[in-house]
Point group: C2
Chain length 225, copies 2
């Protein structure tokens, strides 16, 4: 469902260049649960933004469900993204003046789904925030904002979910509750990729892909205990 070959991404800043991705290839089958790990600055978020159709590589190919993402217009890209992907950003990317329930509801309003408000409330209940539905981001704790972002990524029932460090601001117990949601979605057939710095989160997935300095240095199945 995701086929990436020889992707490069270089940021140009004044007269310096940062080679964030130096030729990355990866193939992910539908229904896999993959952890992406690696040091701070190794290219994980850059890679997730390309997978999530939020950015385009400088070279290489990316086939999403057989569609060549590089050949798409911006509108087509946005349409593919909204239909196929749920994305949890590392910095949450919530709308600052918007209540939690509305943040979660919006993707469904855009896709014309029915019962948007009811389904948004269910998603908030699922991440443990039913009693914070009317709070805006600055009236929520860091981990609560992160959970609003997770609820928002799930509501359109996308086949692929990308999470960039979705448990980074959560205590161990709350992090396990969120991980259990991802595991349940994966058992239901969804393809899930999460960037994580926590080895015990990665051990709950099927496969660990490690980045270092813009390259994939290892890609291994997780031995089930």
């Amino acid at each position: 469902i995701i086929q990436v070959e020889y992707v490069h991404k270089t940021y140009v800043l004044g007269d310096t260049q940062v080679h964030a991705l130096r030729g990355v290839s990866l193939q992910i089958e539908a229904g896999e649960f993959v952890a992406i790990m690696g040091p701070s600055g190794s290219g994980k978020s850059t890679f997730m933004n390309i997978l999530g159709c939020l950015d385009i590589p400088d070279s290489g190919t990316y086939l999403l469900d057989g569609i060549d993402v590089g050949g798409q217009t911006d509108d087509e890209l946005a349409e593919v993204r909204n239909r196929k992907m749920g994305f949890v950003f590392q910095s949450f990317n919530l709308l600052s003046r918007t209540a939690a329930i509305r943040q979660v509801e919006l993707p469904m309003v855009y896709s014309g789904a029915k019962d948007a408000r009811e389904r948004a409330m269910k998603a908030l209940e699922r991440v443990g925030l039913a009693d914070r539905a009317e709070h805006r981001p600055n009236e929520l704790s860091g981990g609560q904002q992160q959970r609003v972002a997770i609820a928002r990524s799930l509501v359109n029932d996308p086949p692929i979910i990308l999470g960039d460090e979705p448990t980074g601001n959560l205590d161990t117990r709350t992090g396990e509750e969120i991980l259990a949601i991802f595991q349940e979605l994966n058992r239901a057939g969804k393809t899930i990729l999460i960037v994580t710095h926590e080895p015990d989160v990665a051990l709950h997935t099927d496969r660990i892909v490690r980045f270092r300095d813009g390259r994939i240095v290892s890609d291994e199945r997780v031995e089930k205990q």
Copy 2:
């Protein structure tokens, strides 16, 4: 150096009230290294904002180095804060259009310190970001932004450092490098409080204070292995 007694903090939102702190008392001696833990939403950041003189409790007293913070004007509070505290925010709080070197330099410019640019560069080198000095926040990875915030909290050489989840966005190895900086500063006599969700970070401190639902539920010395 920090003496908090029966502090309460309630957020009012429309017709609901959120009791973020329900009577918190804590005493910290100069030179201690304390970890603050607890579930998402339990009141840790609210407490850190009060300790960091960024917010005032609704009731209770807070003596910082013998000074009653409650009795201070806003200007006096800002002055005490700039002199005594280094603060690493959970959401970094970096200036969006400002290069990393400038972010770190600014606290010294305000306090009239000499060699601000040189000392800022040293602080960035210490957190491993010498080659990212000219990058703005949106040109840095999540963990790199966090490290800029850490470098900024250290430059004025404050006696007390408060970090709200300072390693949340860092991989294990980079997180250990940052923790080693805090340990070094503590051995040099600084008082350090860090909120963390990671048990192995907390085990590197001397004392673990646990929050739950706006109260401190345990406060224990760490057994040194």
